[in-house]
């Protein structure tokens, strides 16, 4: 964003109508507007971190709205629970985007022109510049000019001009890559924003809880939760399957903190690919063509066998949700009754503790390792799901229990292999457990290009903040018979003066050596005193 923008020509009378629009546009692309927009962008992001956000945690949002009444509903209406998808947040960054484009285009044009332009003519009075020195040379002005130009050329762009007075002036300039870095940063930033937007449209993410022994294929319906960008064709996801979660392994240290999680899977790519093994770990996803499979969470899936009198025994394994770090987990088993009945369903609401302690009748776990697993079962009979609506697989419907349509008939803590008998003669046996892993499949085709844009942004930043723009002029006066020509040198720091004084002193020494002239004469502006003292003075002053 340019501090000063090149003024375009005044609109003609014909385009008088366009004038307010132009004025508005010019104001939009001004640096002041950009500053205000940047501030608004930072400010608008704040509620996104302080209020619960729907894309991250929908239940928390519901709880917040419920407990804050009208205020909560108001916040919901203005989009405060989805700040980064809200109209006002988008408005700010789109305006910033427009402002940036409007600023960059003229600036690129200016830069291209500057690249082709020759270094500026030397000002008449070099001794009026902040940095200047005087040398002498016995060489002819032309030769001296050539030598100076040659000395500077590796890093400076130079131009030797013969002046009317017979003097030869060398103009030199360096630091062109500063603006190049600046432009590179901003263009890469624009590219990054476009790629992020494209990524949002083309990416998808599916999450699934898989118990050891089972698997899934990459189809939207396979997943427990699936979200996709607008341009994702749900029927044409990449063809791959996690054929089986062979084994999940969690290892812990002596103090109970987790040391390692590993999900051993077999997977196949393509429609009839061969099955291959892979170990997915936290921080080490399975990377397939375009898709990545992550290990996000884990837990236990207890197994029970339910034998209802006169019916085939049913063995069921259900994933339980961890309630704490020690994997005390909650879940449910649901067994529909005979068809056509409305009170024959059997539901087990249960707590699984891998290493159980029972205090005051409450089961909890003291270790995430399954050393002494206990399944605490509350058995219910009645109607599990009257409407046939989708409901949580981790719990029985609390409304049905409250309405008395599901009645608790028994409660017992079961160790491994133990069983309980319900009043109707049903036997529930705790057979054992398996482990489950929560796997997430992510797809974002833009992210590699985005990484490239991000790297270019950093490179651009380095260029625009580290490179310094300098101008240097040297004038070799026409030779006077019998005396050495006077060579005057002047330097200008176009930005970030830094220790330009030291830089200039070194340059003058270099030029002096190139001219094979004597040592530099002390700068005329230096106070009367020892040369060493004034040099130290200058160096000290320049070092900031």
């Amino acid at each position: 964003m340019a501090p000063q923008l090149p003024r375009t020509a005044q609109p003609s009378a014909r385009s008088r109508l366009l004038r307010p629009a132009r004025r508005l546009w010019r104001r939009l692309i001004s640096m002041r507007t950009a500053l205000v927009l940047l501030f608004l962008l930072a400010l608008a992001a704040v509620p996104g971190s302080l209020l619960p956000q729907r894309p991250l945690n929908p239940p928390k949002v519901q709880a917040y709205i419920a407990s804050h009444g009208a205020w909560g509903r108001f916040l919901d209406r203005i989009g405060a629970f989805d700040v980064f998808g809200s109209v006002w947040f988008s408005a700010v960054y789109l305006l910033l985007f427009a402002s940036l484009i409007g600023c960059l285009i003229p600036r690129i044009a200016v830069y291209v022109r500057a690249l082709r332009a020759r270094p500026l003519k030397a000002p008449r009075h070099l001794d009026r510049l902040a940095e200047h020195a005087t040398l002498g040379t016995g060489l002819a002005p032309d030769e001296a000019g050539m030598r100076i130009s040659r000395t500077l050329r590796p890093r400076w762009r130079t131009e030797v001009r013969a002046e009317d007075s017979g003097a030869v002036a060398v103009s030199a300039e360096k630091g062109y890559s500063r603006e190049a870095g600046n432009l590179l940063f901003h263009v890469s930033l624009l590219a990054a924003l476009v790629l992020i937007a494209a990524g949002r449209l083309l990416s998808y993410e599916g999450s699934i809880v898989v118990t050891e022994g089972s698997g899934f294929c990459n189809r939207p319906i396979s997943y427990d939760t699936f979200s996709a960008g607008r341009l994702v064709q749900a029927g044409r996801l990449a063809d791959f399957c996690i054929d089986r979660l062979e084994q999940f392994r969690a290892s812990y240290r002596d103090d109970g903190t987790p040391a390692q999680f590993q999900a051993r899977v077999s997977y196949s790519e393509g429609l009839d690919g061969t099955s291959r093994p892979h170990v997915i770990e936290v921080n080490h996803p399975l990377r397939l063509e375009g898709d990545r499979v992550y290990l996000l969470n884990h837990g236990y899936s207890p197994t029970v066998t339910i034998t209802r009198p006169g019916r085939t025994p049913v063995t069921d394994t259900e994933p339980f949700l961890p309630e704490d770090d020690l994997l005390t987990s909650e879940g449910a088993f649901k067994l529909p009754g005979r068809d056509g009945t409305s009170d024959d369903d059997l539901g087990l609401s249960a707590i699984f503790a891998p290493t159980a302690v029972i205090t005051g009748g409450v089961v909890s776990s003291i270790s995430p390792v399954a050393n002494a697993p206990v399944l605490a079962v509350l058995a219910y009979t009645g109607e599990l799901n009257p409407g046939g609506q989708p409901q949580s697989v981790y719990s029985l419907d609390a409304k049905q229990i409250a309405a008395g349509k599901l009645k608790q008939v028994a409660a017992q803590n079961l160790g491994l292999g133990e069983s309980m008998r319900l009043p109707d003669g049903t036997v529930v046996r705790f057979d054992g457990y398996r482990q489950w892993a929560n796997l997430q499949v992510s797809h974002d085709p833009s992210q590699t290009a985005l990484l490239v844009a991000a790297v270019l942004m950093v490179l651009g930043l380095l260029g625009s903040l580290a490179v310094r723009r300098r101008r240097l002029w040297v004038r070799i006066a026409p030779p006077v018979p019998g005396a050495r020509s006077v060579v005057s040198v002047g330097g200008l720091a176009r930005n970030d003066s830094g220790n330009f004084t030291a830089e200039f002193t070194a340059l003058v020494a270099q030029l002096s050596a190139a001219l094979d002239a004597g040592p530099p004469v002390a700068p005329a502006a230096a106070p009367v005193g020892s040369a060493a003292g004034s040099a130290a003075d200058k160096i000290g002053a320049g070092r900031d």
Partner: protein, 355 residues
């Protein structure tokens, strides 16, 4: 490999030693500030030394190089004129340094170097004790940021020894950081699987370096604001009130402004890279490079504010004070991200180790 309890407790003893030595350094810097050439006592005796002003001791610059020893060398160079080319209102710039002040200053640098060694040893031994990078929780991260600040200060002293008399304003914050680390103390432990990644070394260290430098920039900016107000008073010929009076002994506002800018310009690309490293790690750990987790959101906010600062400094009407406040605002956002987001707001970055 288990945690080495002996080394862990040695690391804690070294923290105590470092904190104690920092305290001694603060005392010595205070001594220099009071008795040194820029100090109150020197200032009040300007009359006596007025006739001596203008008498330079060029020999000091050369001879101190020859005698060697960092404190000596720093001391000799400290007699060079200030970094500020502008006149220093009220300060006795060129009078010969008071011997007492010089002794205090030398002791202060000695204590700082010693404390930094204890500090470094404490961090390194903690890393050996737990067999991983020593910045896995808030206690360790705070220690590393404090160490970065001290190292940055010592590096500044080597380049600009004339700034030594400002040591008090750098060592006080470092001492506070040490105490803060003490309150955030977490038992030496291994990392949970989520943190077992080489990105921990890359992402966290780059952010710690950037934050250490930005802390320095915020300190310089605060000095700038005090000094700028002092200079306004001096220009108007009015007596500076309260805080502004402190400005008499600070470097010129223009020099402080430039120093604040250059520290941000140095830290900003590092910070940007640190955020990008975080995004790369997030992609490997959570399946997305950016998810507006509270930590990410505040990293974004701080980044935008520092970007504003860099732009503001190039915009008429925003230079100077306004830009300085933006710099402080950026530091505020970063501090908020470290303390409030880590401790109060729950998110994916909840690794404080506090519960």
């Amino acid at each position: 490999m288990a945690i080495n309890a002996g080394l862990a407790s040695l690391s804690e003893s070294l923290w105590t030693a470092a904190t104690g030595t920092y305290m001694l350094a603060v005392v010595a810097y205070t001594g220099e500030y009071a008795f040194g050439k820029n100090g109150r006592i020197a200032r009040t005796s300007t009359d006596r030394t007025a006739q001596a002003s203008g008498v330079r001791q060029p020999a000091l610059v050369g001879s101190s190089e020859a005698t060697g020893g960092i404190a000596d060398r720093l001391d000799g160079m400290a007699d060079q004129p200030d970094l500020a080319s502008q006149p220093r209102f009220g300060a006795g710039t060129v009078e010969p340094a008071g011997d007492a002040g010089r002794r205090w200053g030398r002791a202060a640098v000695g204590f700082t170097v010693l404390a930094a060694l204890f500090h470094l040893a404490s961090v390194a031994i903690r890393g050996i004790a737990v067999d991983r990078v020593p910045w896995g929780n808030m206690y360790e991260f705070t220690l590393v940021v404090g160490l970065m600040a001290t190292v940055a200060w010592l590096a500044t002293l080597v380049k600009m020894p004339q700034l030594r008399y400002l040591g008090l304003f750098v060592m006080m914050p470092v001492l506070l950081v040490m105490f803060l680390a003490g309150t955030l103390y977490t038992k030496a432990s291994k990392l949970v699987p989520a943190l077992q990644s080489y990105w921990l070394a890359i992402h966290v260290s780059s952010v710690a370096v950037a934050e250490g430098i930005l802390l320095t920039s915020a300190a310089i900016t605060t000095m700038y604001l005090v000094r700028a107000r002092f200079e306004r008073h001096a220009a108007a010929g009015t007596a500076p009130a309260r805080f502004a009076a402190l400005g008499s002994r600070l470097p010129a506002a223009a020099a402080l402004d430039k120093a604040a800018y250059r520290t941000v310009a140095f830290a900003f690309p590092i910070y940007t890279a640190g955020v990008i490293f975080g995004a790369i790690w997030a992609e490997a750990a959570w399946g997305r490079y950016w998810g507006w987790d509270p930590k990410e959101t505040w990293a974004f906010i701080a980044w935008v504010i520092y970007a504003m600062y860099l732009h503001a400094r190039a915009t008429a009407g925003w230079k100077g004070n306004r830009a300085a406040y933006i710099n402080l605002l950026g530091f505020g956002a970063m501090t908020f991200n470290f303390f409030v987001v880590n401790i109060v707001i729950s998110g994916l970055h909840s690794y404080a180790g506090l519960s």
